[in-house]
């Protein structure tokens, strides 16, 4: 087991290196003016100032030199301090959002975390339940209905579903509005006299602050984005769980268990289900990673101020530095999630580490 983990860990630096090279490769497609956003907040207006910036931050230097500087930072010839460098935590400036990228991430990440938290439970819980039901009732009506639903959900992109839900449940009667909280609640949250931030998750903090009305308000705003994300993911979870369960139910140990006289529901819950859920565990890890990386379209449609929306907005305005940094962040989360998922899979399924 440790052997397996060590082997996986050794590959990670290589992958991370490759990821940064690829990201920087994309960065080098930009002109020096755009790349100056790594160091400077506003684009200088005249050519002389632009030239000065380029020379000062070495934006015309050879690519490998720039790559190294992008990683570790550069000693600013004028002020003498070190600027830039993603390893120092400086991702540059977001010109479209008018703040340093790190601040943007710090401000918006909690919203994405909250959305991910409230989505992952229905996604996995209901998705797996549907898949098991469909598999256990193979080829009966429930199974057919479930399969058609899976195909339909696969054909409905999230932005269309989100807009449809908004049309039906918001435009007509205003029940579930877009956004994260209503304006009156936001005024309270921004007021340091009325509100203390403990976790930066509004649903949790509202209860800790004793404001049940804000709690209900934020739940109301979370409802539609969570439904949108869930409906689409249920299709995948249903399909994976169903085929995994069908495969497991064909195994010999299941037949043996039945022959021993166990009740069918004990066979399913005691023998088949734990083994069938192993691939689902890996899928779950990847889903968490994808949600934490920001559901770009769902957040955009519902005006949910998370990092997904920031990515979409900055991409639409061609603010590459921002969206590139957010992609890098998402990539890092995905790499970590892949490692966790691989180790989890090896833990759950001994055949992987011994085979």
């Amino acid at each position: 087991m440790t052997n397996y983990i060590i082997r996986r860990l050794l590959i990670i630096p290589f992958i991370l290196f490759g990821v940064t090279v690829l990201i920087f490769g994309m960065l080098s497609f930009l002109s020096p003016q755009e790349r100056s956003a790594l160091y400077v907040r506003d684009i200088p207006h005249n050519d002389a100032a632009m030239e000065g910036i380029i020379r000062r931050y070495g934006l015309d230097d050879p690519i490998p030199v720039q790559y190294w500087r992008w990683l570790v930072g550069k000693k600013d010839s004028v002020s003498g301090t070190v600027v830039g460098g993603i390893l120092r935590g400086d991702f540059g400036y977001s010109r479209s959002q008018s703040q340093p990228v790190v601040d943007l991430i710090r401000r918006r990440f909690p919203a994405t975390v909250e959305l991910a938290l409230y989505s992952i439970i229905p996604i996995i819980g209901i998705g797996v339940w549907l898949g098991i039901k469909a598999a256990v009732n193979h080829n009966k009506l429930i199974d057919q209905v479930a399969r058609v639903f899976a195909i339909l959900a696969h054909s409905l992109p999230s932005f269309i579903l989100g807009l449809l839900l908004l049309m039906l449940l918001y435009a007509r009667n205003g029940w579930f509005p877009p956004g994260r909280v209503s304006d009156w609640a936001n005024a309270v949250i921004l007021n340091p006299l009325l509100w203390r931030n403990y976790t930066y998750l509004i649903t949790v903090d509202s209860l800790l602050n004793g404001r049940v009305d804000i709690f209900l308000d934020s739940m109301r705003h979370l409802f539609l984005p969570v439904i949108t994300l869930s409906l689409i993911s249920w299709a995948t979870y249903l399909r994976v769980t169903r085929s995994s369960m069908l495969e497991t139910l064909r195994q010999e140990y299941v037949t043996t268990a039945r022959a021993k006289g166990l009740k069918e529901k004990d066979v399913v819950s005691g023998h088949a289900r734990p083994n069938a859920l192993i691939p689902v565990a890996t899928l779950g890890g990847l889903t968490v990673a994808a949600l934490l990386g920001g559901a770009v379209f769902t957040e955009t449609i519902f005006d949910f101020p998370g990092i997904g929306q920031a990515a979409g907005a900055s991409a639409a305005q061609l603010d590459v530095i921002t969206v590139l940094s957010l992609t890098l962040l998402s990539g890092l989360i995905l790499v970590v999630a892949n490692l966790v998922v691989d180790v989890l899979y090896a833990y759950l399924d001994p055949r992987v580490r011994l085979g």
């Binding site: 590959i11 290589f14 992958i15 490759g18 990821v19 690829l22 994309m26 497609f29 930009l30 399969r147 058609v148 195909i151 339909l152 696969h154 054909s155 409905l156 992109p157 932005f159 269309i160 807009l163 449809l164 908004l166 049309m167 039906l168 918001y170 435009a171 007509r172 877009p178 990673a289 994808a290 990386g293 920001g294 770009v296 379209f297 955009t300 449609i301 990515a311 979409g312 991409a315 639409a316 061609l318 603010d319 590459v320 969206v323 590139l324 957010l326 992609t327 998402s330 990539g331 995905l334 790499v335 892949n338």
Partner: protein, 351 residues
């Protein structure tokens, strides 16, 4: 004596035992595998629906100039701009008359409706882009984009996968690590980024999103093809062929390709639905085609401006959305059905 005569003669008995069945002429002509696949497609209700949808969209795409005549006679394959009815901000209802500079009437219009002037069959959006034209010509865009993305991802994936599988060794290692690096990116975000980077360079159009989606989409096929080729190489019949001295090239053509690559190509082509969704998603965000290009994702993005009054101006969302969902559903249904037909066979389990 009340002895019952045997119901079958010995010849019939033997024939039943050997399960000789009648082979139709069509099966003889097409070959057993192709016949089995086609029979599976045409007997499964879901795949019949899927196939009909796909055929329907191909027909609409072909008949686009007839269904929605372009404003100018010389146009490239897809009209560059949806015709507009002026520049007013309020969307017009479906059925409202086309006031300013309508395109030529289709030949069937007068016969079908008895009217002399064009109406907006599906209404307009804010800015007066005609939705009907967008939807009809959008079929061509969707097919073009979907086929292009799929073909390119397949091509690159096949090249990388086969090189890795055939040569093995360090080339395999390098190619697979590169694949891992590309796979470390969340594909939609990465495609978003690359599209944003390429748009100033290549200009707004279909190419930045296509290149971006292909760049972050080839990896799955590379892995699948490599796995397939490696597993076919280990099969008994390939080893037997090599032992008796069949040339490598012949082995590739007659054993590896039909068993490894053909099935993947067939199943891949039904991934076009997912490609079209991805392209529409990028278009929806505004990275992609220029404003006014007949593209469903963009039409749906027009609905974004009207979210609070979306139930009033429902046509801006519903018509392109239905077109997109039906289009993708057609390919997905076929894909599901084909996967069911071909999968058990590939794994060797019974039908």
């Amino acid at each position: 004596m009340s002895q019952t005569t045997p119901r079958t003669t010995s010849a019939e008995f033997l024939a039943e035992d050997l399960s000789v069945r009648k082979i139709s002429r069509m099966e003889k002509a097409l070959g057993p595998e192709v016949y089995r696949i086609l029979r599976g497609i045409f007997t499964n209700p879901l795949s019949i629906v899927g196939l009909s949808l796909i055929v329907l969209f191909f027909v609409i795409a072909g008949l686009a100039p007839v269904l929605a005549p372009p404003p100018t006679p010389n146009y490239p394959f897809i009209i560059k701009q949806i015709p507009r009815d002026g520049f007013g901000p309020t969307p017009k209802l479906p059925g409202s008359v086309w006031v300013s500079r309508p395109p030529p009437l289709p030949f069937w219009y007068k016969a079908l409706t008895g009217k002399d002037s064009w109406v907006h069959i599906m209404g307009t959006s804010g800015g007066q882009w005609d939705i009907y034209y967008g939807v009809i010509w959008g079929v061509r865009t969707a097919l073009l984009v979907g086929i292009l993305i799929e073909a390119l991802t397949l091509l690159i994936g096949m090249i990388v996968g086969s090189l890795a599988a055939f040569y093995g060794g360090w080339l395999d290692e390098i190619l697979m690590r590169t694949t891992d690096i590309f796979l470390a990116f969340p594909s939609l975000l990465a495609a978003l980024t690359l599209s944003a980077i390429l748009t100033p360079i290549l200009g707004k159009g279909i190419w930045p999103p296509i290149i971006a989606l292909v760049t972050f989409g080839w990896m799955t096929y590379a892995r699948i093809i490599r796995g397939d080729i490696l597993s076919v190489r280990e099969r008994d019949y390939v080893m037997a062929a090599r032992v008796i001295g069949v040339k490598d090239r012949r082995i590739i053509m007659s054993h590896v390709i039909p068993n490894a690559i053909y099935p993947t190509i067939i199943l891949a082509s039904l991934n076009i639905g997912a490609d079209v969704i991805a392209f529409a998603a990028l278009s929806f965000l505004g990275i992609g085609t220029e404003v006014g290009y007949p593209d469903w994702g963009q039409l749906i993005s027009f609905a974004r401006n009207w979210i609070p009054s979306l139930s009033t101006y429902w046509w801006i969302l519903i018509f392109p959305a239905v077109a997109l969902v039906l289009f993708v559903m057609g390919w997905n249904l076929m894909g599901d059905a084909l996967r069911d037909i071909m999968d058990p066979r590939m794994r060797g389990r019974g039908a």
